[in-house]
Assembly symmetry: C2
Homo-oligomer: 212 residues x 2
């Protein structure tokens, strides 16, 4: 029924959401597509096209009501759903993720953390006691986790993913270089490749410095 929304629009939704949150916090109660486009560094046309993928949230001659639009986009993103997620890996990156993000307002609830390294097991992170990775299977079977955050190196993810998949986990936030979606095509995988980002920065710096 509803036409497919392009990934490019989807990737822009969190930005809209962030900017609208900011506007709301600043007490702004309405905004035009032109103004919103300015802050988003986009065109007014694009803003209106994007929003109209999901419905007519604006009012002609007036603009968009900030609080309402923010709430609608939150609902579109599904931030109210709160998926139960586990974190695999309590190393530096895992700890940063666990302590840095406010999962509850981003559609998730972190319910458990697992780690292989004995030295890290038992410590508390965000009120959660880090468990041994030997307990993963038991935990997943006794709770209704549907998402896994993977902050382990590629070589550790490779053997782990089969177990997670077998236990029914289909959604992954993946910081490793292991290509989950290639092995299991019926998964939803959001990759964060920090080193790719850094290489892109490197390219752009060099490009910027080049004499025209």
């Amino acid at each position: 029924m509803s036409k497919e929304i392009s990934m490019q629009v989807i990737k822009r939704l969190p930005r809209y959401y962030r900017f609208l949150t900011e506007l709301e916090n600043n007490g702004v109660d309405k905004i035009s597509s032109t103004k919103l486009a300015e802050t988003m560094n986009a065109t007014a046309s694009q803003v209106r096209q994007d929003l109209n993928c999901f419905g007519g949230f604006g009012q002609q001659g007036y603009g968009y009501p900030v609080a309402n639009l923010r709430e609608e986009i939150g609902r579109i993103l599904g931030l109210d759903v709160r998926h139960r997620a586990i974190l695999l890996g309590a190393g530096n990156l895992g700890r940063a993720i666990a302590t840095h993000l406010n999962f509850e307002s981003l559609g998730f609830q972190l319910t458990a953390i697992f780690e292989k390294d004995q030295k890290l097991i038992g410590q508390m992170l965000r009120g959660i006691k880090v468990m041994s990775d030997a307990q993963i299977e038991e935990y997943i079977q006794s709770s209704d986790v549907d998402t896994a955050f993977l902050t382990l190196p590629k070589d550790s993810v490779e053997p782990l993913i089969d177990k997670l998949y077998a236990l029914g986990i289909r959604n992954y936030w993946n910081f490793s270089h292991f290509d989950i979606a290639r092995k299991y095509s019926d998964t939803v995988v959001e990759n964060v490749h920090l080193s790719d980002s850094l290489m892109t920065l490197c390219y752009r710096i060099n490009e910027n410095k080049k004499p025209e």
Copy 2:
């Protein structure tokens, strides 16, 4: 002279580089655009178009020499340049970045780390002693840093960025939600928005679960 390379191609370069590195490590010495496209989850046409933005690296009837192509892409990305960078923020995220990434093979060299929190100053990270943020100015003036990695919250970045900009820093790897490029348009900013990524995952999970 050279036509502008689109951001979409640039963003794919690190992936090519990663896959080629892997192939080389596996002892593969040549690869066709068709095979490379398979592993990259792209079309052979796209691979050939992408590579031909930079030059004819292949050989008709044979394919692309893996080691050579990898090296060329590394050179295009400028991974051999090694920009001097400083890290601002030695909290969980800063520590993760500092210890997790092999900067030297990604075009950078991390030369100093700064932090406001007294409890964190003095600790060693990747062989670098964390300094007080009071020393930033002095350090930048006496060394030839050109890039800053920002793992501080938005509210800390806002006042800091003016100082960094005034000291001549134009390149930023930015984990905060402060929009550097909007304030200073002659900068190169690569943003990593972890919460955006998580929201996108949330949307895609919900979308995936919907009955068609």
